[in-house]
Amino acid sequence: MNFRHAKTVLLGALALGFLASLFADRINPYWLFIFYDIGISIVMAVSLNLINGYTGQFSLGHAGFMAVGAYTSAVITNQFGALNIFAANGIFAVALLAGGLAAALAGLLVGIPTLRLRGDYLAIVTLGFGEIIRVILQNMEKVGAARGLSVNHGWTNLFWAFGLAAVTVYVVASLVNSTYGRGFIAVHDDEVAAEAMGINTTKYKVTAFVIGAFFAGTAGGLYAHSKQFLTPGGFGFMQSITFVVMVILGGMGNTVGVILAAILLTLLPEGLRMLSDIQHLPGFTAERPLGWIGDTRMIIYSLLLIVLMLTRPQGLFSLKKSPAPK
């Protein structure tokens, strides 16, 4: 891939997202929300890939950062009543940014003491962090505690969902595809050797963690203003696992693969649901002949993961590494 024109591609993607958002009212709302979910999944998976894939720091707390961003942005936008389109988007931008910064701060606070741990130990600590966030939110009366928090504005649209996905991809790809960014992969490959080669491994790890957390926070903001209702349970351990699965399925440290995996895994449950909703199929007498898929949807999903991991352990979409710049 040629990264010389990365900025042009980014601007193109943003313009495309803007155009798409103008025609959003012609799209079936059901699909519209799936598109938002895809955008959110891409932001989450690609940012987690910087931490888990490129830098090799196994984090299981990504949904925790998403929760921080979701609640922060929701609390901010809930201060406002009905606004015209410009004010709304302006406030939304500020709220997303604030959500990202709050999550980044959380990432910094968690990252500095814990990133000296490796592998399994780090995974457990980040898992603990995610749970702490969930429990704190569950007991915070100001944000509705376990009852949940209503978000007054449904400001997430195609522009924000895909614009943020594009920015995330741009930032992660630009970082990694630079002399500076090769340090992330060096840390992943051999931490001792990286340190001996003058790479400040702690700084690199914290940087990856903070940037990853920032984007998870903005994705949380998108999520809040798409679902318009937040519960602490929505950001549990299982959510984090879903994003980890996207990263592993896409191929650790492979941005294109991770994007495809994020799209696939967001569509898959919906697709299976649709199959089960088909009323008549030629050759079948019963109504909803594939109805059983609906009941066993999650089993099929899980089986699919097992089969994919057995047959493509390097990641579903693992491609050849891009050659050195000429």
Partner: protein, 253 residues
């Protein structure tokens, strides 16, 4: 002129075990010094002391006029000490090119913002780094492997690549930890030529830890012998070879 590297009574203890005891060691500029000793003599520990992997229990270590005690390995590398490892430690998933390029971040003018903004300055800098990396690879006949992942290179090529990677840090002192390990006789001869070539071409000091007497005796100007963490001899290769203490340490009394 003062020595480039100076250890004064450097000592490290692990619990009750004194791995290196009161080691005095000087390395001058553009000097090639060998560090030898039987298995477990403390050679690699001495290496780890110099590179900051371990901190000395007592004693002083000065490099280029400044103390390295309390510094992290990456800070010491920035000051000009680069090393290779006894059991090769490349970045296996990175290409030969990127293994060397990753070290060039030491010489970057721009920082993260540079990489994110991707302006003309960034592209110019990346291009000049690419040229310098390829030059280095070519000098050591590794240019043809530039796009190969390091793990797919042959053993000898990996050893060479690890040395190239260390040189990319532009060190004043290069530490080689048993570079001849696992090599056959022909490869060892090539290696001694290579080490001599590096010293002359880059005008740097080299500290060579080695098991193989032939390699050490052939190229080192001065040899330091360790046994049980204590320096038992130091001098020119011929003097060391005849030293009864050294013979006893290697062959037994």
């Amino acid at each position: 002129m003062s020595a480039l590297l100076q250890l004064d009574k450097a000592t490290i203890r692990f619990g009750g075990l004194t791995a290196v005891s009161e080691l005095d060691l000087q390395i001058g500029r553009n000097e090639l010094v060998g560090l030898i000793g039987p298995n477990g003599a403390g050679k690699t520990t001495a290496f780890n002391l110099i590179t900051g992997v371990y901190q000395p229990t007592s004693g002083a270590i000065n490099f280029d006029g400044l103390s390295t005690v309390g510094r992290k390995p990456y800070q010491i590398t920035k000051r000009g000490i680069a090393r290779t490892f006894q059991n090769i430690r490349l970045f296996p998933s990175l290409t030969a090119f990127d293994n060397v390029r990753a070290v060039f971040h030491l010489h970057l003018k721009g920082d993260v913002r540079h990489a994110l903004w991707r302006g003309q300055g960034f592209h110019d800098e990346e291009k000049s780094i690419a040229e310098r990396v390829l030059d280095l690879l070519e000098i050591f006949q590794l240019g043809k492997f530039r796009d190969e992942p390091a793990k797919s290179l042959s053993y000898g090529d990996q050893r060479r690549l690890e040395i190239v990677r260390a040189l990319a840090a532009k060190p004043k002192l290069l530490l080689l930890d048993e570079p001849a390990a696992g090599m056959n006789a022909t490869e060892k001869v090539e290696l001694t030529r290579l080490i001599q070539f590096i010293k002359d071409k880059f005008q740097i000091s080299i500290l060579l830890v080695e098991h193989d007497m032939k390699v050490v005796m052939g190229i080192c100007e001065r040899i330091v012998v360790l046994d049980y963490g204590i320096k038992i001899a130091e001098g020119k290769p011929d003097e060391v070879r005849m030293n009864p203490k050294v013979i006893a340490a290697y062959l037994g009394e």
